[in-house]
Subunit: 283 residues, 2 copies
């Protein structure tokens, strides 16, 4: 299977694709989310793996937007711990490092490392994995980069310091997107996008069937609709212990809203990760 | 009034502070959100202006986290259109520009500009306003940066191309944070953080009073609670046409949840910006 992702080879998205589908896949790196979403239509990929939310940074709004514009559906998900390592030349000691390159988000997630080393220069880059490639290509042994283990492996860098991020609870949820006709939906988790009728209590009415059918609401988020002032879109993830409950809840929710789109039904990855929460209190 | 913000002088946050409070304020730039949040306790500022959500990028999760950790409250909000300009040396034509520096988020929001000019080198920076400062300090007339108008004015740069962002609907909502005892709450908008009891229908029960009292729900978002797997926090913004309705709804919601914290009551800025939506359909 050929799987497109946004980023350079060695990126967290590529690591997530291999975690989900095994090392036998062919990964197709693309520079932007827009071009990654075009890869299937262009015949360059069979599927697309995209980050959809991160525990520290929230939802990846651009991916939600592109998902709504596309006809692709979510067929699987996987959750990857984001572990930032300091990567450089083998044999270099931490004291010899004079500059550290990475994406500003990764630099900002390692404040404690930089605060303890005020002499180290921060060098912003467009990509975490790409910063490893650039550092190693420069030949400058005092330079290092912040990225994931896969980037170190891919470019032949050495890990000079492990897990230098401030917050250990850094997880990203990735979704696998495929053409709707490529596989039958399976699994007990479902992602929806819905719009509400213009009447009082419309949000409440849309959530009642979910509670009524004993379905767990895992996520809810309101988002303004581009180009339609005063209109909001709601994104919901939910999971049930039986397909019947899930289908009954979705059917009743559909009746309660003005527009409902199933973004995909797939097996929830949560059960495999004890540290990743659900909203079990809101069933 | 001394107002702290995250970023370099000329940043969008500084422009937002002046839009809200006038040009007579003293702005206090800080390099990180963490240090900006410490500025009041350190006696360096009387208030803090922070971005809380952007129409293209979603909620600023780090600001929500720091707000929850602090004892500050929201006392006002302001909405700023984010207009990215190409800024460089006066008299330089667009064809002479060979490199463009900015924060990767700003670079990514100007894809169309770069697609039309494949020869232009993208240079990632940690800050939009800071990239203008660096370009002008370099003396290299072929270099330019992407930032807001205030950065051009502040550093004496010339706008070489106006509004080069792909999506014109780019707005950021900023909130003014002050110590809780600094001013009485006023206005008809309220921001809440709440946690739910562990029982079926808890989310539904928390939203019922809002509908019952005819209060508009402007935003709802679920977020995992750091360090507490399986627990979620909900953030809500709501607005009413009378203070009585708002207070009745908050009191009843408080009874329906296990924990409720008012993050602030303040006048809603929305009315002044026709293109910024509410969730009027969900009253």
């Amino acid at each position: 299977m050929r799987v497109a992702f946004q980023g350079e080879p060695g990126a967290f998205s590529e690591a997530a694709a291999m975690q989900l589908l095994g090392a036998g896949i062919t990964t197709v790196p693309r520079t932007t989310f827009d071009s990654a979403f075009r890869a299937i239509a262009e015949g360059a990929a069979d599927a697309l793996l995209a980050p959809i939310e991160n525990t520290l940074a929230g939802s990846v709004v651009r991916v939600y937007d592109l998902l709504l514009e596309s006809t692709l559906v979510i067929t699987a998900e996987t959750i990857l711990p984001i572990e930032h390592h300091l990567i450089g030349f083998a044999g270099v000691s931490l004291n010899e490092v004079q500059s550290v390159a990475s994406h500003p988000m990764a630099l900002a997630q390692c404040e404690r490392f930089f605060n303890a080393r005020p002499q180290v220069r921060r060098i912003p880059a467009e990509d975490t994995a790409g910063s490893v490639r650039q550092v190693l290509a420069s030949g400058d042994r005092s330079a290092a980069a912040i990225a994931g283990k896969r980037a170190a492996d891919f470019y032949g860098g050495a890990i000079l310091a492990e897990n230098i991020q401030d917050n250990a609870e850094n997880f990203t949820r990735f979704v696998l997107l495929r053409p709707a006709n490529s596989a039958a939906p399976e699994g007990s988790k479902i992602s929806l996008a819905m719009r509400l009728a213009h009447r009082p209590g419309a949000l409440l009415a849309s959530l009642e069937p979910i509670a009524l059918h004993g379905v767990n609401l895992l996520k809810i988020e309101s988002r303004p609709i581009h180009g339609q002032p005063w209109e909001y879109q709601f994104f919901l993830d939910m999971e049930a212990d039986s397909l019947e409950k899930l289908e009954a809840a979705v059917a009743a929710t559909r009746d309660a809203v003005s527009e409902l789109r199933v973004l995909g039904r797939y097996p929830g990855a949560r059960a495999h990760f004890a540290s990743v929460p659900d909203i079990s209190s809101t069933k």
